[in-house]
């Protein structure tokens, strides 16, 4: 089934591309938080660099806007469509329309839930679980496989919180000497991280026997650092501090030695997405359903 689709598509796409520049429609979720606007900006800048004609549509967090944008892209007969989905469900119909028009669809960031996986070519995104694994692996190395960890979880039930926890625990399960002794949700906020760490400090008699703090994002870890300093502890020295995001304030904390490691969540991911799309347009062949954008671990200068 998929092969036929690919074969049909080959002819059309060769005929369509020719000398003119590739046109890509990109439907973005919106501009909430810090990460997403940076992602949008990078997509636009990277497209310019690569000579891609990018049609950008901001769905402002509404799926109906996103569906409208995708249908507009189809009507404009773009060469490919990249979607950063608002929600996972409700995509079958519009993706079928794109398939009928022979326009390949790529997912960025979040996943979609469709019965027929051939409706999109591939998903290109970071792997939250890999981020957790990287943090865990670093910690295993730094603690030589023996460590009692306190964990600051993200918002309960959110995908990054679930996946980062899973990845981190997967590594820990390999080391009998490593375990999570306290875990609470700090809701991804500095305020939350600080409150939770304060409670941990009291509950563990000043983090006695605790060797590390793993936070699902930097903001919570920054709050935890403040809480520890106010309790007379030395974060980064008394306790190993590892988290995810690599935001500017975390860079500063790493430089000061108050944190030890942070896994970067890239926002400049255009350079990973566009080559996959253009290569596929030139040479459509079956791709794995998920292409993982590599995650980098940044460690403090002293480590």
């Amino acid at each position: 089934m998929y092969k036929t689709f690919a074969a049909v598509f080959l002819g059309v796409s060769l005929a369509a591309s020719g000398a003119s520049a590739v046109t890509i429609g990109f439907s973005q979720v919106g501009d909430e938080g810090d990460w997403r606007p940076a992602f949008s900006k990078d997509m636009q800048e990277e497209a310019k660099k690569m000579g891609i004609d990018l049609k950008f549509a901001d769905a402002q967090g509404k799926q109906e806007d996103q569906l409208k944008a995708v249908r507009a892209f189809i009507a404009q007969r773009v060469d490919a469509i990249v979607i950063a989905p608002v929600v996972v469900t409700g995509w079958d119909q519009v993706l079928k329309e794109a398939k009928r028009a022979n326009i390949p669809v790529f997912l960025a960031d979040r996943d979609v839930d469709v019965t027929d996986k051939s409706l999109y070519v591939t998903r290109i995104s970071a792997d939250f679980s890999l981020e957790g694994k990287l943090a865990g692996a670093w910690l295993a190395q730094a603690s030589k496989g023996t460590c009692d960890v306190v964990e600051l979880q993200g918002t309960v039930g959110s995908a990054p919180a679930i996946e980062r926890k899973k990845g981190f625990e997967a590594v820990l399960s390999q080391f009998p000497g490593m375990k999570i002794v306290k875990t609470q949700s700090g809701d991804f906020t500095t305020e939350g991280g600080k409150k939770v760490m304060e409670a941990f400090i009291k509950a563990t008699d000043n983090l006695k026997g605790i060797c590390a703090s793993f936070a699902h994002n930097d903001n919570m870890q920054l709050g935890a650092i403040q809480a520890m300093k106010e309790a007379g502890l030395k974060p980064g020295k008394d306790v190993l501090m590892v988290s995810v995001d690599y935001v500017p304030a975390m860079k500063a904390a790493l430089a000061k030695g108050e944190a030890n490691a942070s896994v970067e969540l890239r926002s400049a991911i255009g350079k990973y997405i566009y080559p996959v799309v253009t290569d596929y347009l030139k040479n459509p062949k079956e791709l794995p359903k998920w292409i993982v954008i590599p995650s980098d671990l940044h460690v403090a200068a002293g480590n």
Binding site: K182, T189, E191, F200, N206
Partner: protein, 344 residues
């Protein structure tokens, strides 16, 4: 006459059970006792880094923002109003502080600016409620919805996303301590006394309660009800502004999207646990602080309990329901009746 208890005792017991502080205090005691079992060393207070240190201090310390907001809320609810915008006011104040620090204003000017922003927000709410006669829940919803966006826009002025800063003055007020005592507790005590004097040592409290109880009657008795309503929202804005200073300095950063999220609900809850009625007409300042303490004790207990975080909200809801049931005469009587029937 054959009663085993002298009448004076049962009379006093009845007086005790009907006193409005009894049940919230009882709830607080129960939560604390549970904590003592769950978390060893819960009641230990030590001196660390030259100040008091321990879970009990944490509770007082963390309760300050909610209690501040709740005090303003108590006055607004006294006028039969409600202020849903307090969390957003905190976000705007926080963004303003981070921005002005970036711009290099003197820090005491920034402090005044921050409080001024809180007051300005109160001015806006008061205008909608007292002058335009918009229902309080709708009027304050406007700022509630837009406030965090305004905070983000302030961040955009100087291109700061999650800006972090240090300010000896502001952080001194928020996380510093004078002698052994955290500064924010001292400042809170000062704010409480000032507000209490304003409400109970002038006639403002009586006027607020008159307007909340029966605005038409208050008007005929010469109370300028619009002005009174206006002042309630100003007080609430100022209290939220101060909470914004404390929270922003506490985290060293301005995070308009998520700072003090749902604090308005905690504040309303604090007022209600403190015996206030959303129907207005009464202000209980001390009881409101007690309500905020109950909520914070509960929150801190949950954080210390080691319970999986998935249960946080559920546990909080169940305990709050329990406290409110304790306060309800009807619920208490129903339980008593049930117990008596069992005995027979």
């Amino acid at each position: 006459m054959t009663a085993p208890l002298p009448p004076s005792f049962s009379g006093r017991l009845r007086e005790l059970t009907s006193h409005r502080a009894t049940w919230p205090l009882l709830a607080l005691a129960v939560i604390l006792v549970v904590d003592g079992f769950v978390a060893p060393g819960f009641f230990t207070i030590r001196i660390v880094e030259g100040r008091l240190f321990g879970s009990l201090i944490d509770i007082l310390y963390r309760a300050v923002p909610t209690a501040l907001v709740a005090l303003g809320m108590a006055v607004v609810i006294g006028t039969k109003g409600i202020d849903l915008s307090v969390g957003s006011i905190i976000a705007v104040v926080g963004a303003t502080i981070a921005w002005r620090i970036q711009e290099g204003d003197p820090h005491f000017v920034i402090l005044l600016t921050a409080l001024g922003v809180g007051l300005l927000c109160g001015l806006w709410n008061g205008f909608l409620v007292a002058v335009l006669d918009i229902q309080p829940i709708i009027a304050t919803l406007i700022l509630m919805v837009s406030g965090r966006g305004i905070g983000l826009m302030i961040n955009l002025i100087y291109g700061g996303t999650n800006p972090s800063f240090t300010s000896p003055l502001l952080q001194g007020l928020s996380v510093g301590s004078i002698g052994l005592v955290p500064t924010r507790l001292i400042v809170f005590a000062a704010v409480f006394v000032a507000l209490w004097l304003l409400i109970r040592r002038t006639a403002l409290g009586l006027f607020v309660e008159a307007v909340g109880g029966n605005a038409a009657a208050a008007d005929l008795a010469g109370v300028r009800s619009r002005l009174i309503k206006y002042s309630a929202y100003l007080i609430s804005g100022l209290c939220a502004g101060w909470a914004g200073v404390i929270l922003t300095a506490d985290t060293h950063t301005s995070d308009p999207v998520s700072v003090a999220l749902y604090i308005e609900l905690d504040a309303i809850l604090a007022v209600v646990i403190g015996g206030g009625s959303l129907a207005g007409g009464r202000i209980y300042l001390g009881m409101t602080v007690l309500g905020a303490l109950v909520i914070q004790t509960l929150t801190t207990s949950i954080l210390m309990s080691g319970l999986p975080p998935e249960y946080n909200l559920l546990v909080k809801a169940v305990v709050v329901l329990f406290v409110l049931l304790l306060q309800s005469n009807n619920a208490r009587n129903a339980v008593l009746a049930l117990v008596r029937r069992r005995k027979r």
